[in-house]
Amino acid sequence: MIPKTSTPAARALVVCGAALSLVSPFLAWTWTSRYPGNLTVYGYPGGSQLLTLAGALLAAVFTAAVLGVPGLRALAPAGAVRALRAASLAALTATWITVGAIAVDLGGVVNVEPGGWLAAGAVLLLAAGAHALPDDTVTEPPPAARLPRAAEGALITVVFLAAMYVLTYGITTDSAQDFLAFLPAAGFGVRALAAAGLTARFGALTARNRIAVAVAALASALVFPFTQTGDQYTAIADNILVFAAVALGLNIVVGLVGLLDLGYVAFLGTGAYTAALVSGSTFSTFDIGPWPFWATALLGMGVSLVAGLVIGAPTLRLHGDYLAIVTLGFGEIFRITVNNLDGTSGPRLTNGPNGINSVPNLTVFGFDLGTRHTLLGVTFGRFANYYLLLLAVIAVIVFVYARAGNSRIGRAWIALREDEKAATAMGIEGFRYKLLAFGLGASLAGLAGTVMAHLQTNAVPENYKFADTAPPNSAFLLAAVVLGGMGTVSGPLVGAALLYLIPAKFAFFSQYQMMLFGLALILMMRFRPEGLVPDRRHRLEFHDEQVAAAEARRTAAEATA
């Protein structure tokens, strides 16, 4: 228990803690550069010290807001104290994990230099002070002032660039220690922004400026390859994008229509195998290709669409758990079939377990994606080329998703998810609209699959399992959608990034990975069932009383206004 302190004392603690936390990253935390990130330098923060600095800066801003510094109060419209608490926890977790890791890795607390002790103490003061302050949460934050359109666009761009910076930090961190400190720091950081009411404001801002959001998101994603000198992290980013693209496709089926598809990875595989077969690879059964990308993509989408309709037509008459079981079965049938089409257990088509290897690089509008291209003085390697292509694929999928979701078809899908009987009574033919969603989802996964085969230079059955320790597989795809937030665009993107990075960075956990994954899912379902990025409609399902109260307040406010 934190003792009840009177407010002036708590304020003093917070100010003191924030100041010292800001100073500590500039000191040496350990004596040897054996700890990743080199924390031995005075005068310049490095490695995880940056996380402490970021947390401390955030805390300092909210401290200033709590103290009533003019102009800063506006940065915390919903109340600064809870935001300050979360920010202090961001600094606390990052610092203590780093200091603890120094002690564990280097064999004892003796390896922690005075700077490290100072940091550990400072963040503790900060957190204690922050939690002793009385809560000042405002339930109805005042509406934000409207800015000129250009300024709103600029603000959105800045926020996206900042988010991209945080994500890039996560992708390019190569020590497990740093990543372990990064995750809670980022989590508490986002929570601080949410508690301050800033995420709600940003949500309102993005709702008004749909086009600016699309442009800013694309622009900040385009910045990533310019910041990379080697291929190492761009390759990781490529894999995340493939995973995210498929998760977004699955989101139509699961998030909008509510069909639980546990075999979705089969459509990714269908696209990948189709692309590999017409790629001109020497391992391909057909002596055709290489085709231009647009032809491969259309064929991959077409074959996946047919596969989706063939599987969907008999199964979509089932409901709920039965549909989940049957799709799970079809997903496995796909993998086993391509495993057996090797010429001995079946006709020769896919080379069985060996798969189709040596898939050549794609050529898009005359650009060979396998060679280096220099653009604006920056050299784009193979993975950077694929990164750009995948961004375009995701842009297409997001566009289709957004258009479909807000249309008459999208309403029909949501109606079917909510109450199929009532939807039928409205004249909606359930089967037809479900099949449409299933086919659309399948063809989008097929599109991602065609790129995936070329990116990974192969198509092998082992990549398309139901569950595995690395994405994409059906279980991880579904988890990315549910973890991120069903029925949203940004949810599956966030979910895919997290679910790709966590297993990749914590390779030393590999034997416990599935157990931790299961544990994380259970905790998630218990504490935040609507996902990290909640959809307005799903929030109602899980927290209907709070939402009802909030909506009633909002209507009352509108009525008086």
Partner: protein, 238 residues
């Protein structure tokens, strides 16, 4: 002249259990017809069969002269037979307006839909106030208003209301029944299923009493209100 809806010897069974055991009735254009009876009499089953959600085991349903045998539920709506189901069945996580738009799902005339949305808001001003609100956050009475407004959005030739007053406060029940009268006065043909027999009989041109799958009594609403057996069984009078 043929009636708008003609039901002849309709039988509906759940497996081996027959819930509707051969009923015949008619609904004329512009009439308000009510079907009253106790729980389990087969009233809701009858409506579900009329709207195509259940398949009859025997008998004939003719709507606007067309046989409804084998017509799937989503096409029955297209013929102009709207069903406001028991328990309201609104889409809780969609906004009030989105619910109304779904009611007009089969229509393509954007202007007409806009007009009818406006008409729904005039009929139920409460719904206009809560236009952007998720339907699941409405009160029971408001949800019932929404269910009726939604059913009207397809410009039905016949509106079937299943237990519109169920679970409502006496005040809200009066309001809903007043709206049903208003709709009738505006010329809508209504088939009303109700447990609140007194209110239903008071507004019905023609009424049928249903007991364990059979129609046991019929007549104008007035006549049945004065009928001794009806008074004893359904109106709680000695």
């Amino acid at each position: 002249m043929t009636a708008l809806l003609e039901v002849e010897d309709l039988r509906v069974a759940y497996g081996k259990v027959e819930a509707v055991k051969g009923i015949s009735f008619r609904v004329e254009e512009g009439q308000a017809v009510t079907l009253i009876g106790t729980n389990g009499a087969g009233k809701t089953t009858t409506l579900h069969t009329l709207s195509g959600l259940l398949a009859p085991s025997a008998g004939r349903i003719r709507f606007r002269g067309q046989d409804l045998a084998g017509v799937p539920a989503h096409q029955v709506v297209a013929l102009g037979l709207a069903h406001s189901p028991e328990g309201r069945h609104i889409f809780p996580r969609l906004s009030v307006e989105e619910n109304l738009l779904l009611g007009a799902f089969l229509r393509k005339d954007a202007d007409g839909i806009a007009d009818d949305t406006e008409r729904a808001y005039v009929l139920f001003p409460r719904l206009r106030e809560r236009r952007t609100q998720a339907a699941g956050t409405l009160s029971g009475g408001e949800q019932q208003m929404l269910a009726m407004a939604r059913a009207l959005m397809c410009r039905p030739r016949l509106l079937m209301l299943d237990e519109p007053s169920m679970g409502l406060s006496p005040l809200m029940m009066k309001k809903i029944m007043a709206t049903v009268r208003e709709l009738k006065a505006a010329g809508t043909t209504i088939l009303l299923v109700e447990q609140n027999a007194r209110a239903a009989l008071a507004l019905a041109d023609q009424a049928y009493v249903m007991e364990t799958g059979r129609l046991v009594l019929s007549g104008s609403g007035r006549t049945l209100l004065d009928d001794d057996s009806v008074r004893k069984a359904y109106l709680g009078e000695a």
